[in-house]
Symmetry: C2
Subunit: 271 residues, 2 copies
């Protein structure tokens, strides 16, 4: 098989193996007690350990199978960043959920071709849920259950279920962004917090209608794009540009173009 | 078998059946699409339907097996409320999570003897997790995996993982309560939102350290008490009294008495 341009199906199978490997490392440490000093006085932080060990294993696999590919990961930075194919890795997105025992963290894997994500996987190994975005489709699997994802079709903010990871101005939002989110959320039907990437997975399933965030890094957002778009959703930054156009990456993901346009009217001054 | 004072083990088995019955009704409707008008123009709200159908089935079972027992439920009010034994039912706690597809809602069942909960079950049927609090112990099961629950042992707010369902002043908190929660949360290690009763289950598992809420009803809090106390945690209102002493029920649940005392110092003026 030529390394120059293998079929996307090969990358897909490989991405599944990357998710499987991460799951072994994360599940070893999930709900095994929070961060503690052990008897030798050494600090044990399960989420950092899970993140590092998983990413280390994934990098080893990529280096072995696709030595010319680039890698961008949360824990160990960039490797061969200018390569035409780049893997973008975040073994534990939602570290706060992980450390609180809530199964709403996820493993994010994206493959970018010339900076555009062409396939991605979002995996939640505790609930055994996996989303795969590739070739303009998003597929969901849980054990033997497999479905094609479709966003909800909700077109108006007044009927929307909206999510952001933290509505306060102490984590991601500035004070004015927090105020703006609050304004949008008050017009919506229901608001849920603390879901990180999992919120976009619910959007793909048609169960959430709108996700608004900011302060995102490439490893946070790259995998979201094929998942949301493959399910029929729209995902851009707050100005309507491709996510990552600006240095401080904001995200507005919506079930429909109509809902996206309505919300961008609020957000565009803050992008 | 005498109906007057059957052994607690009999109630326990019965409570498990009440949870099983609720799971059938809730899982039929979870992630089957949000509230919509159907083709006949009739409004379909899956969470209300799940709540009602489950509670109806549960009441029928209680009336058949324990006709002298009282019932308090969210959907159909109180029945024979003054009876020495009372079942307190909430088939879908966390309706907002349910309607957004997030598997952090739960079915709550408590049995009260003279207003004090003597056993309870919290069930999450999507993840197949069940917590049982009875006889001063809390047990967790997921499939074949069974464990005894112990809270984390965290004694200081600065090391605590803290949760509340909504930190804003538009749902549960008044403006001053929201400000107070924010103050407490800023001193803590990690904060997670939108977990409803599931946060107390994570506390029992030793994965969360502190849960602070207000505006709770009997069907929201009764089942929490045996689960938190049986795992070694402390649960009172914001004044340190038994939950439900005041009409507007507040809750402060902590992993240890030390952490509980530290937090009550902040909360007591607002109880």
């Amino acid at each position: 098989m030529s390394d120059a341009s293998p079929p996307i199906e090969e990358f897909e199978i490989f991405a599944d193996r990357l998710a499987d490997v991460a799951a072994v490392e994360t599940m070893k440490r999930f709900r095994k007690g929070g961060p503690v000093f052990n008897k030798a006085g050494i600090w044990f932080d399960p989420v950092t350990d899970a993140d590092r060990e998983a990413e280390r294993m994934q990098r080893r696999m990529i280096n072995a199978v696709y030595p010319k590919h680039g890698i961008i990961g949360e824990e160990f930075g960039a490797e061969n960043e200018g390569a035409p194919y780049r893997w973008v890795l975040d073994p534990v997105d939602g570290t706060r959920s992980f450390v609180c025992g809530a199964a709403t963290w996820a493993t994010l894997i994206a493959l970018e071709e010339d900076t555009r994500p062409i396939l991605s996987i979002i995996d939640q190994p505790f609930t055994k849920e996996r989303w795969r975005g590739v070739g303009g489709k998003t597929r969901y699997s849980r054990g033997r259950k497999k479905t094609i994802c479709r966003t909800s079709g909700v077109t108006a903010l007044a009927k929307a279920r909206v999510s952001t990871t933290d509505p306060r101005s102490i984590s991601y939002f500035t004070a004015s962004e927090a105020k703006l989110f609050d304004e949008v959320a008050r017009k919506a039907q229901v608001t849920r917090f603390s879901l990180d990437a999992y919120a976009y997975c619910l959007l793909a399933l048609g169960e959430m209608d709108l996700v608004i965030e900011t302060g995102m890094h490439r490893h946070d957002y790259s995998a979201l794009i094929p998942i949301v778009e493959g399910a029929g959703g729209v995902i851009t930054n707050w100005l309507g540009e491709p996510v990552g156009t600006r240095e401080r990456a904001s995200v507005a993901a919506a079930a429909t173009p109509e809902l996206h346009a309505e919300v961008l009217d609020y957000l565009k001054d803050y992008g």
